[in-house]
Symmetry: C2
Subunit: 296 residues, 2 copies
């Protein structure tokens, strides 16, 4: 962990209809000094330009599930996002390289789920966890969600360099800019850049040894009929309550006819990514996580 950090990437528009990241990159493009620091170089980029132009999550497939090593090495995968992933991998990777072009990445996202500020972290990398702990100390309301993703091998944009994670803020509808969360996301970015300036100059006051996280356990789909049609909606008690602590018997869905469907899993799991628009097609109405303190 003592290696100097030379290059940091800020990426936005991985999902083209998540405008917070798109417009923060616009802002930095206009005024690069905002993300400049003396001890490292900061690059920033829109990752999925065509999806941004069309204000859609993706063109052919979810770019943020396209960075598996197998996929990046498979020349037969040739959708718009498959080709784009290979290009991005060359720019800020390549993934798994001993000498990557970027040392740390933060990928900017938003969610329709009302879960405030979150870091979604998918790596065992020690430096990434030190950054997360520093951000959590500076911005205590942020949640740390530990999630390896839904594709086996980690396939997020943030998995390309050795270190990094995803920043998720919500609720924000797709295709909408929200001023409050725009500035809160920028604050997280600045905090991360501050960390690395201290880190490179060996001025960090401490090494963090533990952190409170929400550790992903499973996801829960909407109740569906045999044809896959959704038969029940997220219950109003959960709708606006990201990181909601569930106990047996809590209503979690309500059918189109108004009947409640109650939670019957383990007491004390926390619900998050509740009613995220992009997860309807992934079969995820919410994620369930265990709250714990881990050593880092």
């Amino acid at each position: 962990m003592k290696k100097q950090i030379n290059k940091i990437a800020i990426t936005g528009g991985t999902h083209g209809n998540e405008l917070t990241g798109v417009y923060l990159i616009n802002k930095f493009t206009k005024n690069p000094d905002l993300v400049k620091r003396d001890s490292f170089k900061t690059i920033f980029m829109h990752t999925n330009l065509e999806a941004i132009k069309q204000c859609t999550r993706y063109i052919d497939k979810d770019l943020n599930r396209t960075f598996t090593k197998d996929g990046l090495n498979n020349p037969d995968l040739d959708t718009y996002e498959d080709i784009l992933a290979k290009e991005i991998n060359q720019k800020i990777g390549p993934k798994g390289s001993d000498n990557p072009n970027v040392d740390f990445i933060m990928d900017l996202h938003s969610t329709t789920s009302n879960m405030g500020l979150s870091i979604c972290i998918s790596t065992e990398d020690k430096l990434s966890w030190q950054v997360a702990a520093y951000v959590k100390e500076c911005i205590p309301e942020i949640h740390i969600f530990s999630w390896k993703g839904d594709t086996g091998d980690t396939s997020f944009v943030s998995s390309i360099p050795p270190s990094g994670f995803t920043i998720e803020v919500g609720s924000i509808p797709q295709g909408v800019l929200r001023a409050d969360m725009f500035f809160e996301t920028e604050k997280i970015i600045q905090t991360i850049l501050n960390f690395f300036e201290l880190y490179n100059n060996e001025k960090l006051k401490k090494v963090y040894t533990e952190i409170e996280i929400y550790d992903n356990v499973k996801s829960v789909d909407f109740p569906r009929d045999k044809d896959g049609n959704i038969e029940a909606m997220v219950h109003p008690d959960l709708q606006e309550n990201g990181y909601y602590k569930l106990k047996k018997g809590d209503p979690i869905f309500v059918t189109l006819d108004g009947e409640y469907i109650c939670y019957s899993d383990l007491d004390g799991l926390y619900a998050l990514f509740i009613n995220e628009a992009a997860y309807y097609e992934k079969g995820v109405a919410m994620c369930l996580a265990e709250k714990k303190i881990i050593s880092i």
Copy 2:
């Protein structure tokens, strides 16, 4: 206004990513008795099936701006939605006919703007205004927004039959079902059906003579640079406040750099459709309306 009402249409999915209407039609399809009444026939349908399937607002163009008389009569207009509009017009119109297939229509929509329950009404038709007044009496929190639309000749789905209007509920992100607003929209539908049952049986207790409305004055675009890029966001004070009464000096936008842009138009106009995702491309950050009581 004494004509018997024989057929009423409920339409949903005119915008394929506005799921409230899509799933209410699913519900009625499964249980048609819910919208059955003795004195008239109720039909219900998804209007834009392909957009619903792709969970997108439209395929080629906004279906809810495609029902101008000129457009419907122009065989050269042949995009997906142009052709679809002509088909729908035959089913529930034709528009302008003395003997239309449907007497009244309610078209179900949702908005990312936090404006609660609204009826958007675009017609001088007396019966439509009686229905709106009845709904307002039964559900006082509903707002009546009088708006001719942005295309000159009224081009909404709701303009096909002689009578009807659009129901708008929000805030709901695109691609998301919200239980509370699903049931509130259903309540509005039931109230309208109840009106016509009373109307046909001459059991309405009164004829409404006036109604409080928000009368559209103009729309306001986001501040943009010379290339059309948005340079400022809706100010947080307005973000969650549909039907907000503006006075000179109120901050209405905040630039990406954090500077406030203040309102300088007439005191006392009300802002609505604030930060609707689908209106970014239409150049509308919010609509401004005058609150007034009109004779009907």
